[in-house]
Amino acid sequence: MSTGNMNLTLKIWRQKNTKAKGGLVDYKLSDISPDMSFLEMFDVLNEELISKGDEPVVFDHDCREGICGACSMFINGRPHGPKEGVTTCQLHMRSFKDGDTIVVEPWRAKAFPVVKDLTVDRSAFDRVIAAGGFISVNTGNAQDANNLPIPKVQADSAFEAAACIGCGACVATCKNASAMLFVSAKVSQLAQLPQGQPERYRRVQTMVAQMDAEGFGNCTNTGACEAECPKGISLENIARMNRDYLSAKFVSEEDI
């Protein structure tokens, strides 16, 4: 099927299930086209494995256009591989050379246990959102959308924070497995909007508490998360969250 001319050695993390011991396994692939995406290269590998009677490599993926946040491969020591600002599914083989050896591992964090091979459990992120990542407004309660003008700069800044796809690259790359970038992106989106004000200080406290309960590490400001984020989520969000968290201790009338 393949029509290209790249020959590659892959070292892929194989692990039967959460409890089993995993390890790197070597695979050779030939005739890979530089126009293929990284995941299409994995499709070729899996077709070969199935045809030989072996078990295919399990990995998360869905939209394959960089927006669903499912794909999550740690490639040559970097989440989503060598190119900046892209997810694994948007990485193409033209970013590699013929003869390369490529090491592929799952995200590694205490809060993201390996499920199988390259798939991890990121449900901790959902629980952090469930703890406060929302504005409490039931359907039907809304006023006319234009009754609440929001300065463009502020709306744009909230949008940039909201562009987070929840892939977990920030956690995977952080030496402390901290989720501060992910959590602060949601806190910061809502804190910058007038609709988010009533729950502003409550939200930051409940979300941070849940983040800690999930076993994510602390932030030591190395900035690796921002550097590896495929959507360019800024460290400013963390600063904003820290300010709000501190203020909450003084301002908030609720005890959380």
Partner: protein, 659 residues
């Protein structure tokens, strides 16, 4: 043939929904707490329905196959969401949105449903903004709008090129809020494999826990299918890899009729196929057509680069053929026009199956406006282009990045090369006005139903419909059914119907492992996709469809005797999941061809080559085909046709023209 009753309320079109809403039976708060509702799917329709029903007090169980509800494929919608707000003061109204949608659907949608959609459209924008969805704004702080195909007003709200993401995250946060409060129980990495029907009513589902392989029984007073469309029947489409028809198809096999399966939307602006390895296609939002111009060289097989072809040697064929709408004609029209140019030998790029989408003129225009804003007078061309690029980047930055990533070319410098690709399916489970299928208690919402888009969906209307169904329609209409179910005790999960449904799901899984064939699931999926694209794609004819039906029947036999599914049933096994989905796609593919063959007319996305005007436009046959084809599944993969006549009482049915 059974009589299909769409349960459209009596009265004037404009009053139907208001009247029904205020006369609908209600369920009191105490009773809601003991009623369980199952929601399959967590996209815009599923998440909004699950959240809203839980807010109202129902007990909700929500299922998705992804690892998080936030990853449902609504997330990938790019361009925007329509609403009849008339914020631009350009003459928009509920009636105009209704009219544009009916006309855009080539007069094959139900008037009452579409009018309701237009009525609630404005509420959706209000709700999303209240949730903190950061839609694009003007300097004055008010919401911005952009143009989309098939309309002459600006009614599309957006968030850069990722509107679906922002709207879904809004619905997802509302859903997670209910999860946090314990009012929705969320089942991620679960796939619905059977609907359980007890005494003729939907009472539950069988779901497979994708991590453990365990088959689980879940009971409820009603089941909502919000499981999306079936574009992946073509293998290559803009859908996500996991998007599938299985939930809808299993419901179909349990008695839910399937409406207009042949109505498929081929989106005109996608990144062309680059090779055999291709696993999916990527859309370039329709909003780009608003700011871009589509053209091909006037000379056949022109070897020159786009930049070397002078203005007067370019054929802006949409502007030439459709002067009134130009580049903003509806998707079906734009796709066919691109195919016509490429088939005639004017295509560009290596494969010659592509046309140019060029932003140069508008980049310069935007730059000139921006220069004025910044007080730069008499700017030179270079300044205009630089400033214009920044404006374009703000509007579509993520789309341009995606194009550059996939093709390795810079779309700020060179025009994009684009070609049509499968994007959306207007067909789906037949539902009445209340969104109920032909199985009582079983509902279908969003892309999974057939109801609002006729034979062609207008851009930015899918997000509108998904959220309308979930936030504003089902919360009312389901009450009418549930108010009669108060006496129904929780259904015991050892009921024979559950036992039977689970055995059936297990039987299929066991069969897959017993085959031990030689070909992978993808091998069959690609074969099916090829048949569908060539014979049931952008253009169809009786001969091709007849051949396709025979080929698909043969493919089904081959699949069930030679597929190889590795691994085991009781583990996380994505190949097994794919096998189940492809098995259903094969059966659906046959039905799509049967439906396309039955419909001896051209309408919207369904273009039968035998039925076209002299100018190559779709030619409807209103006398014989102004009906919804609702198919009933029969033993042995046979299908029986039922018809719902479409009555147009408020709109004059005419030959669709965008000239």
């Amino acid at each position: 043939m059974a009589e299909l009753n769409a349960n459209i309320p009596e009265g004037e079109l404009t009053d139907k929904w208001t009247k029904l809403r205020s006369s609908m039976p209600l369920v009191n708060p105490a009773n809601k707490r003991s009623i369980e509702i199952i929601v399959v799917g967590s996209g815009l329709a599923g998440a909004s329905a699950a959240a809203t029903l839980a807010e109202m007090g129902y007990k909700v169980k929500c299922f998705c196959f992804q690892d998080s509800p936030r990853r449902a494929h609504s997330i990938a919608a790019q361009g925007g969401i329509n609403a009849a707000k008339n914020y631009q003061n350009d003459g928009d109204s509920t009636y105009r949105l209704f009219y544009d949608t009916i006309k855009g659907g080539d007069y094959r949608a139900r008037e009452a449903n579409v009018h309701r959609l237009a009525e609630v459209s404005a509420n959706i924008i209000d709700q999303c903004v209240a949730q903190g969805v950061p839609l694009a704004r003007e300097y004055g702080g008010l919401l911005d709008n952009r143009s989309f195909g098939g309309t002459q007003v600006q009614r599309t709200f957006y968030a850069a090129g990722q509107t679906g993401q922002q709207l879904l995250l809004g619905a997802y946060s509302a859903l997670e809020r209910q999860v946090g409060m314990g009012k929705v129980e969320m089942f991620t990495r679960h796939e619905m494999l059977e609907v359980v029907v007890v005494d003729g009513k939907a009472r539950g589902i069988i779901a497979r826990n994708l991590l453990t392989g365990e088959l689980e029984r879940h009971s409820g007073h009603a089941v909502l299918l919000c499981s999306g469309g079936y574009g992946n029947v073509f293998y290559l489409s803009t859908n996500a890899m996991g998007s599938n028809v299985t939930a809808a198809w299993k419901a179909h096999k349990k008695g839910a009729f399937f409406g207009n399966p042949c109505y498929t939307q081929i989106h005109p602006t996608c990144i062309p196929v680059s090779g055999d390895h291709q696993s999916k296609l990527t859309l370039m939002s329709e909003s780009l057509r608003n700011d871009g111009r589509i053209w091909v060289p006037k000379k056949k097989d022109d070897p020159r680069k786009a930049s070397e072809i002078p203005e007067d040697e370019r054929d802006y064929y949409l502007e030439r053929r459709y002067p009134a709408f130009g580049n903003l004609v509806p998707r079906d029209v734009a796709s066919r026009a691109a195919k016509e140019r490429c088939d005639a030998g004017y295509g560009v790029g290596k494969s010659k199956l592509a046309v140019y989408l060029d932003f140069k003129a508008n980049t310069e225009r935007y730059g000139r406006i921006e220069a004025n804003v910044q007080n730069i007078h008499n700017p030179d061309k270079e300044t205009c282009m630089r400033l214009g690029r920044e404006v374009i980047k703000e509007k579509y930055g993520n789309l341009f990045d995606m194009y550059a990533q996939i093709t390795g070319e810079d779309p700020y410098e060179l025009p994009m090369r684009i070609y049509p690709a499968v994007h959306y399916t207007m067909g789906g489970l037949w539902v009445d006005y209340n969104l109920m299928t032909t199985v009582p208690g079983l509902y279908a919402l969003g892309e999974a139903n057939f109801s609002d888009h006729g034979a062609n969906r207008l851009g930015a209307s899918a997000l509108m419909q998904g959220l309308a169904d979930g936030y504003f329609v089902i919360p009312y209409t389901i009450g009418a059914y549930l108010s009669k179910e108060l006496a129904t005790k929780p259904i015991p999960q050892d009921h024979p119907a559950f036992v039977e449904a689970e055995a059936s799901a297990r039987g299929i899984i066991d069969k897959f492992f017993a085959i031990k064939g030689t070909k992978t699931v993808d091998y069959f999926h690609k074969k099916l996709g090829k048949i569908m694209w060539e014979k049931c794609g952008m253009a169809r004819n009786a001969k091709g469809l007849t051949e396709a039906i025979a080929e698909i029947q043969q493919l089904r036999k081959d699949f069930w005797s030679d597929v190889r599914v590795p691994g085991e049933a009781n583990e996380f096994n994505p190949e097994l999941e794919k096998a189940g989905r492809v098995a259903d796609f094969i059966e659906l593919g046959e039905l799509m061809c049967i439906d396309a063959l039955n419909r001896n007319e051209s309408c919207g996305g369904h273009f039968r080559e035998e039925y076209q005007t002299e100018e190559g436009e779709a030619m409807r046959d209103d006398e014989n085909y102004a009906y919804v084809a609702a198919w009933e599944f029969k033993e042995g993969v046979k299908f029986e046709l039922h018809k719902e006549e479409l009555k147009f009482e408020n709109i004059k049915v005419a030959q669709r023209s965008y000239k």
